[in-house]
């Protein structure tokens, strides 16, 4: 870790703190999963270790699937630290509301197609929100924060993944949520095909009906 210099905290997330630094002449992000005082040490260590090990693995597999993620330079399990490439761009969360409808469609369609690629490779992101996506100047979208991700070929896991994105859109961008989610689905459908997309949509509806106090739920 001594090779890193000029560390500056630039984002204190819920789960990890992100520092900007310089590593062998490269501008890097240092992601540290800090110990949480509220939970017992044994659980704390298990969670941090699991996520620190799995996140870079899933980021690598995402690249294989054709989904841009930052390059990982180093992993230190002892300190739950990941050193990765700094991606120049804007959080989709910040950019989305200021966009025109056609720009929104373009970005959301892109996001949908990237999620499709992940799912085709049995990769579940686990925390799809617009805060975890970076829009670069050349209209590419990088996915971040795979800490809650998993490898799964189950329809249920893919359904929850997209359900979470839908919910994140509704709570954060509620004015354009429906429109954005439709664009995401179009992009998704183009990658996975109409049949798989429809199957997933039905699964999302089932997950939503299962939720608490949903009017659409069948009367038993």
């Amino acid at each position: 870790m001594d090779e890193v210099n000029s560390e500056v905290l630039f984002k204190k997330g819920a789960e990890a703190s992100l520092f900007l630094g310089n590593w062998h002449g490269k501008r890097v992000v240092i992601k540290r999963r800090l110990s949480k005082k509220y939970r017992p040490d044994k659980l704390d260590l298990a969670i941090r270790t699991y996520r620190t090990v799995h996140e870079p693995q899933l980021m690598h597999e995402a690249k294989v699937a054709g989904v841009p993620t930052p390059a990982v330079f180093m992993v230190d399990v002892q300190t739950s630290t990941i050193i990765m490439e700094f991606i120049e761009g804007y959080q989709v969360k910040r950019a989305l509301d200021g966009f025109s409808q056609s720009e929104r469609h373009k970005v959301c369609f892109k996001i949908g197609s990237l999620i499709g690629k992940l799912h085709l490779h049995d990769l579940i992101h686990g925390d799809l929100t617009t805060s975890n996506m970076i829009l670069t100047s050349y209209s590419n979208v990088f996915f971040l924060d795979f800490g809650l991700g998993e490898k799964s070929s189950e329809l249920e896991a893919r359904g929850v993944d997209l359900h979470l994105l839908k919910r994140a859109l509704e709570s954060t961008h509620f004015k354009v949520a429906e429109e954005c989610f439709q664009s995401v689905l179009q992009g998704y459908r183009e990658v996975v095909g109409a049949v798989a997309a429809e199957e997933l949509l039905e699964k999302i509806r089932e997950i939503e009906r299962r939720g608490r106090y949903v009017t659409e739920r069948k009367n038993s």
Binding site: K12, A14, L43, L164, E170, S171
Partner: protein, 340 residues
């Protein structure tokens, strides 16, 4: 009575979504004059909706009378009747709604239906002084993280299956703990957990800002049946794991919404360990931690009365013909014009 100002207006609120039948009386300025409730205790198993409703019908008169006695006002002094219109158990909701309709019609005052979850948030704000909090509402039927945004309380995180209180209660029942009046099973689990020493790793399932507790419950019950760990250690591990998950999603929502107040409410808010965990997270994010006093954190009539006042003074009324109960009335479907 003689000290009351002549112009003060009063609202009576009726709560009957689940096992509690509660009546609260509040002044329009937010002074709670009465808050009485009676809890249905099943002989065995969980809440049977029809039996709970029967209980509510039996105790309604006594609870109402007691509320009037405690408040020192008379029925004719009331300006408004509020009732919890949902979400909750159908037969229980209908019993409360029937009492409310009858009172409003008899007294010739307006009726207003209140969303139960909104009621929890509003009474929590009134009692703690929080203005625009991120709320964690955890009870036998609800586990949700919500905050005001654009006209409504939006849901940022929630359970994908069972509620936190339900998880603790069912575990308590499965391991043979007995439900006593005034002591929920969750409280019995909390007491045992304090004597637990060894943490057993159990399924920890956080998905984005949502969580899932059913796998955790199954795993804990299975371990108990195998008899490999002590009950104290299992209660401790179950609590630590479930509360860590709830705390993690709350922290995520706090970082995401950047709210500066955290409000903890619902029946499980009584748990000291959960309070400590959430306070730690609030401190970390420079947010104030507001825990709702128990009598206003569990289901109660006062929260319905107060929220009814907020709704009524912002132009909302519920005519009797539209006062049907709403079993599945999500908090994010309710407009809250009193928040800006």
């Amino acid at each position: 009575m003689s000290t009351q100002e002549p112009k003060e207006r009063y609202c009576l609120g009726i709560e009957s979504t689940a096992d509690d039948f509660g009546v609260g009386i509040s002044t329009f300025s937010g002074q709670i004059l009465a808050n009485i409730s009676d809890c249905y205790v099943p002989a065995e198993g969980g809440i049977h909706p029809r039996e709970a409703a029967r209980h509510h019908a039996c105790v309604a008169e006594i609870v109402l009378k007691e509320a009037f006695t405690q408040s020192g006002i008379k029925p004719k002094d009331l300006s408004l009747i509020a009732f919890s219109q949902g979400p909750g158990l159908g037969p229980c909701l209908r019993t409360g709604a029937t009492v409310a309709r009858a009172l409003a019609s008899y007294l010739g005052v307006p009726l207003v239906g209140v969303n139960h979850s909104v009621g929890h948030i509003e009474i929590g704000k009134l009692q703690t002084g929080a203005k625009d909090p991120l709320t964690l509402y955890v009870s036998g039927g609800n586990t949700l993280v919500t905050a005001f945004s654009f006209g409504r309380y939006r849901v940022f995180g929630e359970t994908l299956d069972i509620a936190l209180g339900n998880c603790l209660d069912v575990f308590g029942r499965e391991v043979g703990l007995k439900h006593k009046k005034g002591v929920p099973l969750g409280a019995a689990v909390e007491q045992l957990a304090q004597r637990g020493k060894e943490l057993v790793l159990l399924p920890y399932v956080v998905k984005g800002m949502d969580l899932s507790l059913s796998g955790l419950l199954t795993a804990a019950v299975t371990l108990f049946q195998k008899g490999e760990c002590t009950l104290e250690d299992l209660c401790y591990s179950l609590q630590e794991t479930a509360f860590s998950m709830v705390t993690e999603i709350t922290e995520r929502a706090l970082a995401h919404t950047e709210k500066k107040e955290l409000l903890l409410t619902g029946g499980v808010a009584a748990n000291k360990r959960l309070q400590a965990m959430l306070k730690s997270v609030a401190d970390e994010h420079n947010a104030t931690f507001n825990s709702v006093p128990l009598k206003f954190a569990t289901d109660n009539g006062a929260m319905i009365a107060w929220t009814g006042i907020l709704a009524f003074t912002h132009g909302l009324v519920t005519p009797v013909e539209r006062s049907f109960v709403r079993l599945r009335w999500r908090v994010d479907k309710v407009d809250v014009p009193w928040m800006k």
